[in-house]
């Protein structure tokens, strides 16, 4: 079995780290810089920053956040959310991102994948697929955080994205995202078998076993996790306040725990992976 990467995914709204369920009902969790630093120091292999509301707000704040992060964090950073053109991609990369993740823009204009991969290199272009399971067992691709139906078959779209030059596929299960019920392993396995480029499983990890199970059974090269890590980080970091006053801060202020996930640190997660026969990078904490 190959080496599996553990990617901490940070969904961003305005200046805050947020977390929702099925990409909606976003709760404010705190200052993203603090979480990013914590994940870097505890051995995350990569970070993904996803602007949850990029189409509604300006993107400059995200670029500033990326510049700040890449000054002190020396692992790969992927940025996504609202990138619609070569110029948007160029700006994100110039701000310090190593890769960009594209969804809505490339569904509308698939040739942007080709153009961007030629210009910036395939390894820089991640195509994010938000897949929703259908009654007949297939998956359709959605855009705008699972809100917009495209009618495109998710597995066929992954194959097409690879042909056009995508370097990686980020496969999100809309049905599982934020639920803690586990990854959609059928979706992960189908996409991983359909393409040769690396596939990142995303959406649904509620405990370490979910990650180990998906890594063992589906052929994915990486897993993107958020709730699992965020709710542990909250206990350790104890962020008292969010940045600014935007968003739903009720959870943060209440000091409540969560019941739908069994949170763990990156190190704990990786130890469980190794114990479960999954290869991954585990080093002493910084």
């Amino acid at each position: 079995m190959s080496m599996v990467r553990v990617i901490a995914r940070l969904d961003i709204k305005g200046a805050n780290l947020v977390k929702g369920i099925r990409l909606e009902g976003l709760r404010v969790l705190g200052d993203p810089d603090t979480f990013a630093r914590y994940y870097y120091e505890s051995g995350a292999d990569e970070l993904i920053y996803q602007d949850a509301v990029a189409s509604l707000y300006g993107r400059n704040s995200l670029c500033e956040m990326i510049s700040r992060t890449s000054r002190e964090i020396f692992i790969p950073l992927t940025v996504g959310g609202g990138l619609r053109s070569i110029e948007d991609i160029r700006q994100a990369l110039a701000a310090g991102a190593d890769k960009v993740s594209l969804n809505t823009a490339v569904i509308a204009a698939p040739q942007l994948i080709r153009e961007a991969s030629r210009r910036f290199g395939s390894s820089t272009i991640v195509v994010a697929i938000e897949a929703g399971r259908q009654a007949d067992g297939s998956w359709l691709a959605f855009t705008d955080n699972g809100r917009e139906h495209t009618g495109v078959d998710a597995v066929q779209w992954a194959i097409r994205a690879e042909e056009l030059g995508a370097g990686e596929i980020l496969a999100t299960s809309i049905d599982r995202e934020g639920t803690g019920e586990g990854f959609d392993t059928d979706l992960c396995a189908r996409i991983a078998a359909a393409v040769k480029i690396p596939v990142i499983a995303h959406g649904g990890a509620g405990k370490a076993e979910h990650v180990a199970d998906t890594a063992r059974r589906t052929g994915v090269s990486a897993v993107a996790v958020s709730s699992l890590l965020h709710y542990e980080a909250i206990r350790t970091l104890r962020p008292r306040e969010s940045v600014g006053s935007e968003g739903n801060r009720e959870f943060l202020q209440s000091g409540r725990g969560v019941s739908h996930v069994q949170p763990c640190t990156v190190q704990e997660l990786k130890r469980r992976l190794l114990d479960g026969g999954v290869q991954c990078r585990l080093e002493d904490a910084v």
């Binding site: 080496m3 051995g43 370097g167 040769k196």
Partner: protein, 218 residues
């Protein structure tokens, strides 16, 4: 210690921002430049790169950088090639036809095989963390090259350099069952296939070590 200054060669490819930040963290002031001006004055040169070999050589040529780079190395300037920048140090690459490289280290660049010896599919590009092992044929200890044996580093690549002289291989890496050269050195020319600027604390340690070697050159 006097201030160390290096030039990062900007030919439109690679995450120059991260390399510059990693240099800063390691006590090196790095200037990003698209021209050959200043190559003579700096303490070292970094050749980054992501993307296609042929396109990179064309761009270097159109920016008038090839001769000045070779000349700078001839005059003793330390050069560090990162990722595609390491591959460019070689004589030639088989990426989409045969392309001539800078010819600073004898050897060629070849595509990673699509299948392992047992027939299983290899995912290419190879993206992710892997370990580097010191070349047992080389007399250097880790103190000499800045790496720990078995250290974890971050890779993104589809091609790998095949140096002609095994003694010039610094480290080896196994991707699935495929073994390839992950770092190379010939005199003051060093190449790393991985991204030290994205390899956490171990990557920064390598930059610090490289900085020390520049210090000795001054």
């Amino acid at each position: 210690m006097s201030e160390l200054r290096v030039q990062i060669v900007d030919y439109g490819l690679g995450n120059l921002f991260s390399i510059r930040q990693a240099c800063l963290q390691s006590g090196i002031t790095a200037e990003i430049s698209q021209t050959a001006a200043g190559l003579g004055e700096v303490d070292g040169i970094i050749l980054p790169g992501v993307g296609a070999f042929g396109h990179a050589m064309e761009t270097l040529r159109s920016q008038g950088l090839i001769e000045p780079l070779i000349e700078a190395v001839r005059s003793g300037k330390p050069l560090l090639g990162i990722c595609l920048g390491m591959q460019l140090l070689m004589d030639a690459s088989e990426e989409f036809g045969l392309h001539q490289g800078l010819g600073l280290i004898p050897g060629v660049v070849r595509r990673l095989p699509e299948r392992r010896a047992d027939g299983a599919l290899l995912r290419v590009p190879a993206v992710g963390w892997n370990r580097i092992f010191l070349n047992p044929d080389r007399a250097d200890t880790h103190m000499d090259c800045g790496f720990r044996d078995g250290q974890w580093v971050y890779f993104v690549h589809s091609f790998a350099a095949v140096p002609e002289r095994s003694a010039e291989i610094l480290t080896l890496t196994d991707y699935e069952s495929i073994r390839y050269c992950s770092a190379v050195r010939r005199g003051h020319v060093t190449g790393v296939q991985f991204h030290p600027e994205r390899s956490a604390a171990g990557g920064l340690a390598f930059f610090r070590h490289w900085a020390t070697s520049l210090q000795k050159q001054i």
